[in-house]
């Protein structure tokens, strides 16, 4: 696995994608890592960085899809071209790519790691769920995907017999897991450090508290 590095990277641009912001930075000497891995992005003016999975990786760039919902994510989404951010990664464990019949499933901002994952798996079928038509504009990042909008849920249209790789809110992950017990699920949790130091990001896995940044963020329960 590639070694995480921390560098100050120039911002190349911030593109609106529905209600989200695609923050693109110069890649520097950072390795983009395996799809599903994440990076800690400096949130200007805040004490702690924020964990973001890699969304797109064009040559020489790293792109992160950010939902500006709190002070940290708003600070990141508000950066401008020419500014610079400290970025540390890649971190954690990504998706296993050795699956014969992949199906990508994303919910809301959980679409974030899927474009880079789709590229690695040569554009497998995908199902995306959003809470509104405006949020569904983010599906432009995954043009071939089937898109549903609340009250239709991704689990309503999930085909059987597929190797599911999913990212989304916890209730969605739980529902997907009920239908596809062997699914690889990308979770999220508040993190202070992203590299196993703070013990802040624990999630309960089969009765044990595990550091999501070290054991995850992609977990498989079967």
């Amino acid at each position: 696995m590639s070694k995480p590095r921390r560098e100050r990277l120039s911002v190349l641009g911030v593109d609106a994608v529905g209600p989200y912001a695609l923050v693109r930075v110069r890649r520097g000497s950072l390795d983009p890592g395996v799809p599903g891995q994440f990076f800690m992005l400096e949130a200007p003016g805040r004490v702690l960085p924020r964990p973001m999975s890699l969304c797109v990786a064009p040559r020489g760039e790293l792109g992160f899809l950010v939902d500006p919902v709190g002070p940290g994510t708003i600070a990141i989404a508000s950066v401008e071209r020419g500014e610079a951010l400290h970025v540390f990664g890649p971190l954690g464990n990504g998706f296993r790519l050795d699956v014969p019949r992949p199906l990508l499933v994303g919910g809301g901002i959980g679409i974030a790691p899927l474009p880079y994952l789709a590229e690695a798996l040569e554009q497998p079928p995908a199902v995306l769920g959003f809470r509104s038509a405006r949020h569904a504009e983010a599906a432009a990042l995954l043009p071939h995907a089937e898109v549903v909008v609340d009250p239709v849920l991704v689990t309503d249209v999930l085909p059987a017999g597929r190797d599911v790789l999913a990212c989304g809110p916890e209730p969605m992950l739980a529902a997907v897991r009920a239908l596809a017990p062997a699914a690889q699920l990308a979770w999220e949790a508040p993190m202070a450090c992203g590299y196993g130091a703070c013990y802040g990001c624990v999630v309960e896995v089969e009765g044990d508290l595990k550091r999501l940044c070290v054991e995850g963020p992609v977990l498989c329960f079967s």
Binding site: V47, L48, P49, A192, C193, A197, C198, V202, L209
Partner: protein, 281 residues
């Protein structure tokens, strides 16, 4: 002057490179029994710091000694073991099992119920069973730092660590505590003046070495702690945002010392104390 990590702010087995960039590595607190720690949510950011309520998650004394300690020794970084407990004899039992390490007694975790004995009683119980260097990590909530320091020194401490986090609460948008435990330990830049005052008061009460921590983000912050009487400096929250902080802060420390008119950072030791005729507490 040694640069260390604050206990609980680094896992050397997960991030050995970061541990190796320090002069010594301080473990997470080891308690007699394994502890899963508190339920999530465990952390919350504030404007000038963060709260944590990890709850001394650790594998317990037995597994620490049999599994973790040998792996930590293999890293070839001087080791400090943070020891915790819920009664003086629990601290002492762990100390009795430790050799060739410096021991830091965690007398001040805000996320668990504290031992009923006083800091001095716990230090005395540990002093009886160990010849290893013994540091007492005292609470910043201590009303009279001078008295606490004199008491733990009389009980046999070889040094002091300060400050631990301050107890704090953060409320979410719906006015519920963000942390599952309610309160947590407040750390980060906001703590620096509190740490400076604690070290200042402690230095007036003792000539023992003091490991100072609390809000250090830069070389200038570290220099200020030294000027208040710190012998060594430890990094906490800054390690979360910047795992390369030890090298950066060391470099900045030399520059800042020179800028303040001192050839070496150590030359600024206790410099600030000379300017205050009288300071209560």
């Amino acid at each position: 002057m040694l640069l260390l990590n604050a206990s609980g702010c680094l896992d050397a087995l997960t991030a050995p490179d970061v541990a190796s960039s320090l002069d010594a590595y301080v473990t997470k607190t080891v308690t007699p029994d394994p502890r899963a720690g508190n339920a999530p949510v465990r952390i919350a950011e504030t404007e000038q710091g963060m709260l944590n309520a990890i709850g001394l998650a650790n594998p317990g004394r037995e597994r620490f000694l049999s599994t973790m300690l040998p792996r930590l020794r293999a890293l070839n970084v001087p080791l400090w073991v943070s020891v915790g407990g819920f009664a003086a004899h629990e601290y002492a039992e762990t100390c009795a099992h430790l050799d060739e390490v410096t021991i830091e007694l965690n007398l001040s975790c805000p996320n668990v119920d504290e031992a009923p004995e006083s800091a001095a009683e716990i230090v005395a119980a540990c002093r009886e069973v160990t010849g290893n260097p013994l540091y007492a990590k005292v609470s910043p909530h201590s009303w009279d730092m001078g008295e606490t320091v004199r008491a733990v020194e009389a009980a046999g401490a070889d040094g002091l660590s300060m400050i631990n986090t301050l107890r704090g609460v953060v409320l979410d948008a719906h006015l519920s505590p963000t942390l599952a435990r309610g309160a947590g330990g407040y750390s980060g830049p906001a703590l620096k003046p509190v740490a400076l005052a604690a070290v200042f008061a402690a230095r007036r009460a003792t000539s023992l070495p003091i490991v100072a921590m609390g809000g250090v983000c830069s070389g200038r912050d570290a220099l200020e702690l030294i000027a208040c009487g710190a012998t060594h400096v430890a990094l906490g929250t800054v390690l979360f945002s910047d795992p390369t902080a030890p090298a950066r802060i060391r470099a900045e420390l030399d520059v800042e010392a020179e800028r303040a008119g001192f050839a070496r950072p150590e030359d600024a030791f206790a410099h600030a104390l000379g300017f205050v005729a009288r300071m209560e507490n």
